[in-house]
Symmetry: C2
Subunit: 330 residues, 2 copies
DNA sequence: GTGAAAGCGCTAACAG
DNA sequence: CTGTTAGCGCTTTCAC
């Protein structure tokens, strides 16, 4: 009788069993290779455990993220993985790349908590999450997070990058930043400033923007609009997309990486090794971060109680050809 | 009363309403930027229509794909979008990149239907799909597909690429192929041979592999292991990943693109413009293909009946810097 | 209008 | 061990 197309109805089953064998995942953008790798990691361990994954793109818009979180809760997912977007205190609609447009010039100030009207906490959803629903933050750790999380060590990561650069003899360093509304954006910038400070060096350029190719290109263009004498001999970018954008701008300026400027990125996305020159970068194992996150969810589902666990993955430096010894005397 | 955390239970709702407002999508690999873009497209229109999307990676393994399709049906998705994997007639486990290993040398034969023991039809699931479940094939059109689909015009696409190359004076052309078990792999190769045939030119090199960077690198390496006199002056690769791999191999050989060989890719993934030199390629609008696919699903859900609709999107050539005029006399 | 009842397709508990 | 029944949280119908 099953011969003619009977399929058990898993939704009826879920209703009585009180679980759906489904994980919800909300990320900024699937089309971004870093998040694609993250998803890959969670899907793999979800599949092992007989779960499927629902996903949604937030475009880094906190309201959109909230909507998806709410919807996934109503759909009774067994666990939630989220790359937390920044939240705005007022309900003003967040436009993509909002904070991106104007690089903040020479060296822009950075303060914690409230950044240019953007709330860096995870806000609302935290409050009324169903009890017992495992939630884990991926990649970005909001100021007020009280659940499990897996994040990279951003400060240590950029410290690796600047260490490499000063070993190469560079003393005039610049930083092309990401979105200061995001924890990763703030931490990487703070890590840059701290790493330089530890060595008694003052940065020559620091700007913020968005984590995108276009923002990297724009920030670098505005850097190179300043007098050549003030240019850095080496640039660290807050992620690979940004670095790739810097590469474009350098090329457009008729300059060369690494002859005129050294460049280091962050993430080691798959395409970092395909640029010209191949990008020296700080590797974050996105896929492994994703599977670690899913494993945290299942640990809770398996009954583990206890304080929030935040696993921080150690980044490492992969040096390729976008960095070279500094030729100008300090 | 809702004040203390009441959430409507959408799964109970689904049980009675007989729909889940969920789309299922199975793709080879989220981490592949082409498929990431596709997903982006379907998510966007799904969201507009109040649907969420469940996804699964098949790794191009037909069995894995079947398992996800089956699971999504049991979960009572309202529609299914799939980038159909190749199927093996026997239940032999398909290993990733199985067909990839050895490039088939000078010019490997290609026949339809059964390719090296791989069934190019969509097989089983077709048979016992629930009546009324909208299913659409994305990117790849199996031989026996009888549902809606959205695909690129692969033959026209590579014809664009070879047209550009012969205009540039090239007469000695080679083809670095993808997986012949996939419709895209076969069509792009056939398109290459046809486009050359139309012009009375015989290809100088044709090989198959997998749609990956490594396969491109390996195929190109074996091409360049042949006597230099037999080398092509221009290469068309079956996709951008392959082309990027060729680029690596060319570089490793101490040769230059486009001075020694011109190179054209296929897809125009986001990173195609970041290679060195930026890749000339045949653009397929992945995101738009995804949203078109989702729109087909909703059209059926809205009650449209009628024969399967296959929308084929026209590719266009984007010329960047990996192609140049042929300097050697024909 | 407001309230009770049936039932979506399962699982679990309980009888025979 | 097989068969019946209650109930998961909703929507819909039907009665009041």
């Amino acid at each position: 009788m099953a011969a003619l197309g009977y399929r058990p109805n898993r939704i009826a089953r879920s209703l009585i069993l009180q679980h759906t064998r489904t994980l919800g995942m909300v990320i900024p953008d699937v089309a971004n290779p870093f998040f694609g790798d993250l998803m890959r990691g969670v899907e793999e361990v979800a599949r092992e455990r007989g779960h499927s994954v629902l996903f949604g793109n937030s475009d880094n818009d906190g309201d959109q993220e909230d909507r998806y979180v709410e919807e996934f809760i109503e759909r009774r997912v067994d666990g939630l993985l989220v790359v937390v977007a920044a939240h705005r205190p007022a309900r003003s609609p967040a436009r993509a790349g909002d904070a991106a447009e104007v690089p903040s010039g020479a060296i822009a100030p950075l303060d914690g908590g409230l950044v240019r009207g953007v709330d860096t906490r995870a806000l609302g959803r935290l409050a009324d999450l169903p009890a017992g629903l495992p939630v884990v933050a991926l990649d970005r750790l909001p100021d007020d997070w009280s659940h499990d999380a897996v994040v990279g060590d951003n400060r240590a990561g950029v410290a690796l990058g600047v260490g490499h650069l000063v070993e190469l003899g560079h003393r005039r360093l610049g930083f092309i930043g990401g979105d200061p509304a995001l924890a990763t954006g703030r931490e990487r910038r703070a890590g840059f400033e701290a790493a330089l400070g530890d060595r008694g060096i003052r940065p020559v350029w620091v700007s913020d923007g968005a984590f995108s190719l276009d923002s990297g290109r724009a920030q670098a263009a505005s850097l190179f609009a300043s007098p050549p004498a003030t240019w850095p001999t080496a640039i660290v970018a807050a992620n690979d997309l940004l670095a790739l954008g810097v590469l474009l701008a350098v090329r457009e300026r008729g300059l060369s990486v690494p002859d005129d400027v050294s460049l280091v990125g962050f993430d080691d996305i798959t395409y970092a090794c395909l640029s010209n020159p191949p990008l020296t970068t700080v590797r974050q194992p996105a896929r492994e971060m994703g599977s670690a996150g899913a494993r945290l969810v299942f640990r809770r589902l398996d009954g583990e109680v206890g304080p929030p666990e935040v696993v921080v993955v150690r980044p490492d430096l992969v040096v390729r050809s976008s960095t070279a010894r500094c030729e100008v005397p300090a």
